[in-house]
C-alpha cells in the first residue's frame, strides 16, 4: 500500500529526513518511535504534504500512485489521513459544517454524489459513539476552546468520518490523560479494516498497549535505525533510547 524509498526532506535547507525506507501493507499497524528531534513528525508532515518541508530525494508510492506528486487535498482524497499533533482552530466554522464540506469534496473526487443532510447526520451519530464524542462539541467552532483531550478526540472522530485507507497518528497520545488515551486508542482500534493501515508516531510505549503494532521502527537522526516487533517498544520503555543512539552513532562513525 505504502512504499517509502530513500526519502529525504529538509526544512529551511536543514536536512531532517536522511533516507527513510519503509514498506507498509494493508491491515498493518506500524509504530514510529524515537527521541525528540529525530524526524518523526517531519515524516508525518511530509507524507501529508505540508509545504514548508522540501523533499530533496527518494520516492513515496501510495496504492500505485506517486504520493509526492499529489497536492495535499488530493492525498487526503486518495485516503491519507493525518491526525494532527496540534489540531488547528477555525473560528466560526462548526465541526459539522467543516466535515460536511470535507466529506463531500472527497466524494466528488471519487465520483460519488454528495451526502444529503439526513445521511450525513446518520453517519455523524454512528461515528460519534465510536470515540464517545459529545454532540455539543460538534456544533461548536472547530477546536475553538476545546481541551487537549477534546481536540484529539475530534481528530479521531474526523478519521472515523472520512474512513481513510492510511491513517497517520502524530503523537496523538500527547496531552491525554489515561482515560482519554484509552478512548482515543480504542476508537482507532475499532476503525481498523483489513484494507487500511495505520502509522502511529509516538514517544511512549503506553499508547501501544491499546493500539498494538505489528512493527515498531526507531527513528534517529533522520533514519530508521532499528525495526522490530512490539517487544521492541517494551524494550525501549525499559531501557530508554541511549543504547540505540550509541549503536547507531557507532555504526555511523
Amino acid at each position: 500500500m505504502l512504499s517509502i524509498k530513500n526519502l529525504q526532506a529538509s526544512i529551511n535547507d536543514q536536512p531532517i529526513l536522511k533516507g527513510i525506507n519503509l514498506e507498509i501493507k494493508a491491515g498493518e499497524v506500524h509504530a514510529i518511535m524515537g527521541p525528540n528531534g529525530s524526524g518523526k513528525s517531519t515524516l508525518a508532515s511530509v507524507l501529508a504534504g505540508r509545504e514548508e518541508y522540501e523533499v530533496t530525494g527518494g520516492s513515496v508510492t501510495f496504492n500505485g500512485k506517486d504520493l509526492l506528486d499529489l497536492a495535499p487535498e488530493d492525498r487526503a482524497r486518495e485516503g491519507v489521513f493525518l491526525a494532527f499533533q496540534y489540531p488547528v482552530e477555525i473560528p466560526g466554522v462548526s465541526t459539522t459544517n467543516f466535515l460536511k464540506t470535507a466529506i463531500n469534496q472527497v466524494r466528488e473526487y471519487r465520483g460519488q454524489d454528495p451526502l444529503d443532510a439526513v445521511s450525513f447526520l446518520k453517519l455523524v451519530k454512528e461515528k460519534m459513539n465510536l470515540v464517545e464524542m459529545n454532540q455539543s462539541l460538534l456544533s461548536r467552532a472547530l477546536n475553538e476552546g476545546f481541551s487537549g483531550g477534546e481536540k484529539k478526540r475530534n481528530e479521531i472522530f474526523q478519521m472515523a468520518m472520512l474512513e481513510p485507507t492510511l491513517s497517520i497518528l502524530d503523537e496523538t497520545d500527547s496531552g491525554l490523560d489515561i482515560d482519554a488515551l484509552r478512548i482515543v486508542a480504542n476508537g482507532v482500534t475499532k476503525l481498523k479494516r483489513p484494507d487500511s493501515a495505520t502509522i502511529v508516531v509516538t514517544h511512549y510505549q503506553r499508547l501501544l498497549d491499546y493500539i498494538v503494532p505489528d512493527y515498531v521502527h526507531v527513528l534517529y537522526k533522520g533514519r530508521i535505525v532499528k525495526s522490530g516487533s512490539k517487544e521492541l517498544a517494551l524494550e525501549l520503555e525499559e531501557k530508554g533510547y541511549d543504547w540505540i543512539k550509541e549503536e547507531a552513532d557507532n555504526i555511523q562513525a
Binding site: G49, A76, P87, I90, G92, V106
Partner: protein, 481 residues
C-alpha cells in the same frame, strides 16, 4: 512563503462574474450638471414645484461645497461635468404581472440568479426592481396595501403620497449634509419609498435590487423608509453591476425614520463592479446612509456585506435621539485586487439609556486597502448610554492593508464605551488543516472567511445570508492556494 504569495495572488485575482450589459433603449440627459439639468430631471419626472425648489436649493448649496479629501482612498479627480445625470428606460405600458416585463430585463435577473418569478414564488419577497433608475416591476403591492404598508418607487411616492415625502425627505440627511448627499439631493433619479403604519409588523422582507446600466451614467438613488410608532420592517438592498471600463459614480442616500417603539432592520449585500485586477474601471460608491431613532425604545439595525466597488465610502449611522433607543451596525467589508474601502458607522447617542453595538469585519486581499472609520459620540444629556465596538481585520497575503480609525467623543460621565480590535492573517496552518481533510484551498479560504464573518452573516435574513456567503467565496475566488 513566496509560493504562498503567488498563490494568494492567483486566488485574489478572481474575475467579476456579473459583467454584461442589458440592451434596453435609454433616454438620457446630456452630460454635465447645471440648473437646467436639475430642471430637466424634475420635469422628466413630472415633479411638483416644491420638489424642484428643494432640488435647486441642494444644487446651489452643492456649488459651494468641496469634495471630501479625508477618506483613506485614492482616485483620480472626478469631472462632475463629464457625468450623465439622468437616464431612464423608455416608458413602457403599465404592467399587471411579471409576464409582461421586458424579456431582456428578465434575462438579466436570471443571470444574477434572482429571477423575479422565482423570488415571487419561493421567497415571499416583494421586489421593487430598479434598473437604470426607474422602477419597472413591483410585486406584492396588493398584499402590503391591505396592511396599509406603502412600498413603491420614490417617483410614485412623490405622486401618490406627497405629504409623507414632504414631511420626511431630508429630515435625517439634510440637503446641506455633505458633498455627495447634497449632489444626490439635487439630481436623484429614483429609488424606493416605504412607509409602515402604526403598530404594523411588515410580514415580508422588502427588497430592492439595483443595477447600474447605461454606460457613463451616474446613479443617484434615494431611499426613504418611515416606520411609524410600534411598527417593524426588514428591508433588503442588493446589487450587482455590469462590467465596463469607465469609472461610474454612485452616490445614494438612504434615510430611515423610526418612531416610538418602531424597529427597522436594513440589510445590504453590495456587489458593484470593483474594477479589473489592475484597478481599471469599477464603481465609485459614495453613499450616505443614516437612520434616526426618533422615538423612545426604537431600534435601527444596519447589516452590510460589501464586496464590490472600486472605492467605497460609506458610514451607515444611527442617531439615537429617543430614550432607550438602540442602534446596531454589523458589517463585512471585503476588498480584493486594487479595491479601496473606507467604511464604518456613526453612533450618536442623544437620548438617555441609549445603546449601540458595532461589529465590523474587514477582509483584505490582493493589493487592496480596507479601512474602518467609526465614531461613537455620547452627548451631554445621554445618561447611562453604552456602546460596544468590535473591529476585526483579516489579511490575506502581504500586499494589502487594513486600517482602523475609531473616534470616541464622550460628553457624559455615565457613558460606557468599549472598543475591541483584532488583526489576523489566514494561517497557512488553517489552510493545510483543511487541505488535509480533502478541502481545496479555495474552499478552505471561503470556509475560513465565512466563519470569521459569521457573527455578521447571522444577522442577515436566511436567503440573503446564503447569497452573501456565495458572494464572499466568489469575491475571494482565485485568492490563496
Amino acid at each position: 512563503m513566496s509560493k504562498d504569495t503567488d498563490i494568494l495572488e492567483e486566488l485574489t485575482s478572481g474575475e467579476y462574474k456579473y459583467g454584461w450589459e442589458t440592451k434596453i433603449e435609454a433616454e438620457s440627459a446630456p452630460k454635465g450638471l447645471s440648473e437646467d439639468i436639475v430642471r430637466f430631471i424634475s420635469a422628466k419626472k413630472e415633479e411638483p414645484e416644491w420638489l424642484l425648489e428643494w432640488r435647486l436649493k441642494a444644487y446651489r448649496h452643492w456649488l459651494t461645497l468641496e469634495e471630501p479629501k479625508w477618506p483613506n482612498v485614492n482616485y483620480p479627480e472626478i469631472d462632475f461635468q463629464d457625468v450623465i445625470y439622468y437616464s431612464a428606460p423608455k416608458k413602457k405600458p403599465q404592467l399587471n404581472s411579471l409576464d409582461e416585463v421586458d424579456p431582456e430585463l428578465r434575462e438579466t435577473f436570471k443571470k444574477l440568479g434572482i429571477s423575479l418569478d422565482e423570488q415571487k414564488r419561493m421567497t415571499g419577497v416583494a421586489v421593487d426592481a430598479v434598473i437604470d433608475s426607474v422602477s419597472v416591476a413591483t410585486t406584492f403591492k396588493k398584499k402590503l396595501g391591505e396592511l396599509g404598508i406603502i412600498f413603491c418607487s420614490f417617483s410614485e411616492a412623490v405622486r401618490e403620497h406627497p405629504e409623507l415625502v414632504k414631511k420626511y425627505l431630508g429630515s435625517v440627511v439634510p440637503i446641506t449634509d455633505n458633498f455627495y448627499a447634497t449632489l444626490n439631493s439635487a439630481v436623484f433619479s429614483d429609488g424606493s419609498f416605504a412607509y409602515i403604519p402604526k403598530g404594523v409588523r411588515c410580514p415580508m422582507e422588502l427588497s430592492t435590487y439595483f443595477r447600474i446600466n447605461a454606460a457613463n451614467t451616474g446613479q443617484f438613488e434615494r431611499t426613504l423608509i418611515v416606520a411609524d410608532e410600534g411598527s417593524y420592517v426588514s428591508y433588503l438592498e442588493g446589487c450587482t453591476a455590469p462590467q465596463r471600463d469607465e469609472n461610474q459614480l454612485h452616490a445614494a442616500v438612504v434615510e430611515i425614520y423610526a418612531a416610538k417603539n418602531a424597529e427597522v432592520k436594513y440589510s445590504t449585500v453590495q456587489n458593484w463592479y470593483p474594477g479589473d485586477k489592475q484597478g481599471r474601471g469599477g464603481i465609485y460608491n459614495f453613499v450616505t446612509k443614516r437612520g434616526i431613532c426618533a422615538g423612545d425604545y426604537s431600534k435601527i439595525s444596519w447589516t452590510q456585506v460589501e464586496t464590490g466597488s472600486a472605492i467605497t465610502w460609506k458610514y451607515p449611522s444611527c442617531i439615537l435621539k429617543g430614550d432607550h433607543s438602540v442602534g446596531e451596525f454589523y458589517s463585512v467589508a471585503v476588498t480584493n485586487n486594487r479595491q479601496q474601502a473606507d467604511t464604518g458607522t456613526k453612533m450618536i447617542h442623544i437620548g438617555k439609556n441609549t445603546r449601540s453595538r458595532i461589529v465590523s469585519k474587514g477582509v483584505s486581499a490582493g493589493h487592496s486597502q480596507n479601512s474602518y472609520r467609526g465614531l461613537v459620540r455620547i452627548m451631554k444629556r445621554a445618561e447611562n448610554s453604552r456602546n460596544f465596538s468590535q473591529c476585526d481585520s483579516l489579511l490575506m497575503g502581504d500586499k494589502c492593508g487594513a486600517h482602523t480609525f475609531p473616534y470616541i467623543e464622550i460628553g457624559n460621565s455615565t457613558g460606557q464605551v468599549e472598543h475591541e480590535a483584532t488583526t489576523s492573517k489566514i494561517g497557512e496552518d488553517q489552510i493545510f488543516y483543511c487541505n488535509q481533510r480533502g478541502i481545496s484551498t479555495e474552499d478552505a479560504v471561503a470556509l475560513i472567511v465565512n466563519g470569521y464573518c459569521k457573527e455578521v452573516l447571522n444577522q442577515l435574513p436566511m436567503e440573503f445570508a446564503v447569497e452573501a456567503q456565495k458572494l464572499l467565496a466568489l469575491t475571494l475566488e482565485g485568492s490563496v492556494g
